[in-house]
Chain length 323, copies 2
């Protein structure tokens, strides 16, 4: 059994708990939190420890899955924990990946540990598909579309607007754009042509709805480059119809070998973004524990992990049944 | 530059020639054939040698791409050439993969060479997607659909029928079956419910068309388990409208994390089956040459190859641009 710890217990940590408990070869040792452990109750009843206690578990945990946020948690936590454990994180601030990789690589190598960063579906599975597709069809063009799904960052941005009580934002890929890519037309697409944004907003009593709508639609980076629709609804309606976190998307590579065109398409349609991301982290946790046992150390990304390590089946079984 | 040889010069070998010549980091050294080399003219003008001369190129070729057939060529050629070169093959007789792997592994290990077997899209990219999807979503069901595309084996089977001058057979996935999988219904599908077969047949003058059609539709293994349509057309029409080798297909995994459903879908839509397969072989040839240079030896499948090795870009560049 591979012994797993979870650092951070939000939606993602709960998803990892579920995935680890569902796996036959993984055993959940504990959840580590920066909150008061007594204030945290786990779904499966596994014990909660203070993050400060983690170092006492050096010999009892084969891999620690980090479930904190990319903005402030992971840049500190991943290098710190990689000096004690094999780790997996979902660091997703694309621009800072090279720096994060370097910090984690140094910490992990010094401790003979293995650390997978930026694991999930994007970065993660989508990145893997971009890389493989481009390597196979070097002449061509790659497209990534996200959605339909809830963007937490965009939902948060709306909630910060004066007069807004609550909000959910859906990112929706433009169907015509995907069809054009599927037809190997290789269009140049603007931001506006790729995705639309649909917002469901609960206004506070007496708020100026037109002002809120204008503020959303003109918000730089988040909305101003998109066609955005705003619906004002009640809190009850939001809770009832928009209470889950679905997501997904498409990676398409349209490429050529001379006069012949080829399309490679990868897509995800997820009821729960955090639970699926957690499932990816959990499969990679298995891989990282096994890779470390075989002598690989340092920071890794999804690009560096042979797929066979993700599975609980033996190489022989995989070749006989899945190749 | 990675120096590449091609063993076997049919459609697949010509595709590898095209892909190697299109790559910046690969150099084509020569084509090796069992035919009389003087009788073979290559598209790019690269020199043709007799297969017997291959051993003289031990120090001049970093990786040999095998483009023979799985029935009789590869079971002999891959172990033989793996004792002299790093090799890549597209062995696709699923039932014999474990035995082929063993034979190639022994030959390659003894010579400190690296050998990738069963590379292409199925086995190959489809296998990789089946493995990754199942590892991430252990609770669920995986489906593979092929087509729409030309099945060479089925076309050959029709051509062997008495009274048939020529034929092309298309394998077509049943749309309703794919939609049911996409809706996470996880149906149990019979062979008949998954694919239909459409045949375009040129009959010899005076042949009994009804007899041919009956013989096709009742052919065990090939057609009797499918809904099959037979169209009789002229040789001119066959050449004009059915002269290419398109193919493709879908791998779908419908899985659950508790009450939440997730769909992972991978699909290919290929104008030319042999040219795309050749492109996969070529990317893996790059990977195998690099893996051997780093000390990996023995037989490998697509399950064992970290994706980063497929690309001509550095690990740093991949992390900065594609993650």
């Amino acid at each position: 059994m591979i012994k797993v710890g979870i650092a951070g217990y939000g939606n993602l940590g709960k998803g990892v708990e579920k995935a680890v408990n569902a796996a036959n070869d993984l055993e959940l040792v504990g959840v580590f939190t920066r909150r008061n452990p007594d204030s945290v109750n786990t779904v499966s009843g596994v014990t909660v420890y203070s993050m400060d206690q983690a170092e006492n578990f050096k010999d009892d945990i084969d891999v620690m899955v980090l479930c904190g946020g990319s903005a402030t948690d992971l840049p500190e936590q991943t290098p710190a924990l990689a000096s004690m454990f094999n780790v997996v994180d979902s660091f997703d601030t694309h621009a800072n990946i090279p720096e994060h990789f370097k910090n984690v690589d140094e910490a992990a190598k010094a401790a003979n540990k293995t650390a997978a960063i930026s694991i999930g579906w994007d970065p993660g599975l989508f990145s893997l598909n971009r890389l493989i597709a481009e390597s196979i069809l070097p002449e061509g063009k790659t497209y990534t579309f996200w959605g339909k799904g809830v963007s937490q960052g965009h939902s948060d941005a709306i909630r910060r607007i004066d007069g807004v009580a609550d909000a959910k934002q859906y990112t929706i890929p433009v169907k015509e754009a995907i069809e054009s890519v599927r037809n190997n037309e290789r269009p140049d697409l603007t931001t506006r042509q790729k995705h639309i944004r649909e917002c469901f907003v609960v206004a506070k009593e007496g708020a100026d709805l037109q002002k809120i709508e204008d503020e959303i639609k003109n918000m730089p980076n988040y909305f101003s480059d998109y066609d955005t629709t705003v619906h004002f609804i009640s809190q009850e309606e939001l809770n009832k119809n928009h209470g889950t976190l679905p997501h997904g998307g498409f990676v398409l590579r349209s490429g050529s070998t001379g006069e012949n065109n080829h399309l490679i398409e990868y897509s995800l349609n997820l009821d729960s973004n955090p639970e699926f991301t957690a499932s990816v982290l959990t499969a990679v946790a298995r891989a990282i524990a096994r890779m470390n046992a075989e002598g690989w150390t340092g920071a890794k990304t999804i690009f560096d992990i042979p797929a066979s390590y993700l599975s609980d089946k033996s190489a022989e079984e995989l070749r006989a049944t899945m190749l």
